[in-house]
Subunit: 246 residues, 2 copies
């Protein structure tokens, strides 16, 4: 299994992902929030790459049961009832709802990878489930770090490294790209204190200065949810729900 | 001094660099080759970002004393007398010549950063000279890793980390971006054996499979040249020569 890691999706075109098995990581905060929403019973999350498209989709589609969420540069968007804090996506708020989500980096990364044959959403919160899914599939893997405006994000690379570490516990038939090696090394350095790592990161500091310190705590928790969110035909659903509810 | 590191220049526009102090790193092999050529008495190196422009420039410009060099995906280009191996750029070949150089990632990165107020060319071969220059200037610094087709390259990040390590020996007034932190950690991991690191890297393996193993040895040598190659108005010259010869 070859594991390749992209520090940011901006260096490749959409078609780069055609036929691939891809995992998108945006620890602060899009993939953490998506995993939380799905775990709390949201019917689906619809990731979008423009605010205009978010407005359009949230209008009459999906039986009117949509909720609009997102952020731009860590700040709430006017007219959007929900931001991008996982704490906002409680069961009372999201159960059975379709969430239309726009974020600066994370949802764009998912949309960029839309032609993947398999496309999964990963955070520290559900990392073991994603690792097992990948091992079962036994395909080459592209881990896409959402990054920040096309640049390297410490927390996404550390999470990619954590995922690689988990996969290594099931198989040693792995080859690594340079970026995968780098991610594995970063995880090794920070694994004893992921929350501190988030607080040290550039995006973590930005979130703290905007009053979102608690989000870092949520994002740092490993394996609190056992779900595999899968993107398919424009929506993200839990893999189990796809199997059982069609 | 804020030190920012770009894992690849493709995530930013040319104007991003306006007014900045920038260092371009492409260990395998463009910046190693440029440093070698300048150290061996080349009058200047003219980095270009297309093969067509290389052909054009090498025609009648620069008093006919030009030599055309470069590679595409580690292979020589038809009609170019020189490739991109530093071993080709000996004193007998390059003395007093203007070298027009096209490479897959490195010269494109330099051209991308052309609007920088100060733009330096760095490899392991001349790292101490570059570090001292930056400390003297005392500006914020952008270290641009050329990377590989927009993706992360281990050897360029390790070299960026080495440069940061050298700067730290002169000042502790530094703040780090996430990517700078990552590069510093990578250097710390690999500093005892840079040649092994090059052999482990994706691009190192590609070069070895094309018969360029000796280039890795040259590229891994620290501080064998004490020069500061500076880009200005389309050409790279040694800083001392700019001062003394105008």
């Amino acid at each position: 299994m070859k594991i390749h890691t992209l520090i940011s999706p901006v260096s490749v075109e959409d078609l780069y992902f055609a036929g691939k098995t891809t995992v998108v990581v945006d620890v602060l905060r899009a993939t953490t929030t998506i995993v939380t929403a799905i775990a709390n019973g949201a019917k689906e999350v619809i990731p979008v790459n423009t605010i205009g498209f978010a407005m359009k989709v949230s209008g009459n589609a999906f039986g009117g049961k949509t909720l609009l969420g997102g952020e731009r540069n860590a700040k709430k968007i006017e007219g959007f009832p929900l931001g991008n804090s996982p704490l906002e996506y409680s069961e009372e708020i999201v159960k059975d709802k379709s969430i239309v989500l726009f974020t600066t980096n994370g949802t764009k990364a998912i949309v960029r990878a839309k032609y993947s044959e398999n496309l999964f959403v990963c955070s520290f919160n559900n990392i073991e489930s994603i690792a097992r899914e990948l091992v079962e599939l036994n395909n080459d893997v592209e881990i896409v770090c959402a990054g920040s405006h096309g640049m390297f994000s410490l927390e996404d690379s550390v999470c990619a490294g954590c995922l690689i570490d988990r996969i290594e516990q099931y198989t040693d038939n792995i080859s690594y790209s340079d970026a995968s090696k780098c991610s594995a090394m970063l995880y090794d350095k920070y694994k004893e204190n992921l929350l501190e790592m988030l607080k040290e990161s550039e995006h973590g500091k930005l979130l703290m200065s905007n009053g979102f310190e608690k989000d870092l705590d949520v994002a740092s928790r490993v394996d609190i949810h056992h779900i595999v969110p899968v993107y398919n035909s424009g929506v993200i659903k839990s893999k189990d729900k796809i199997k059982t509810n069609g």
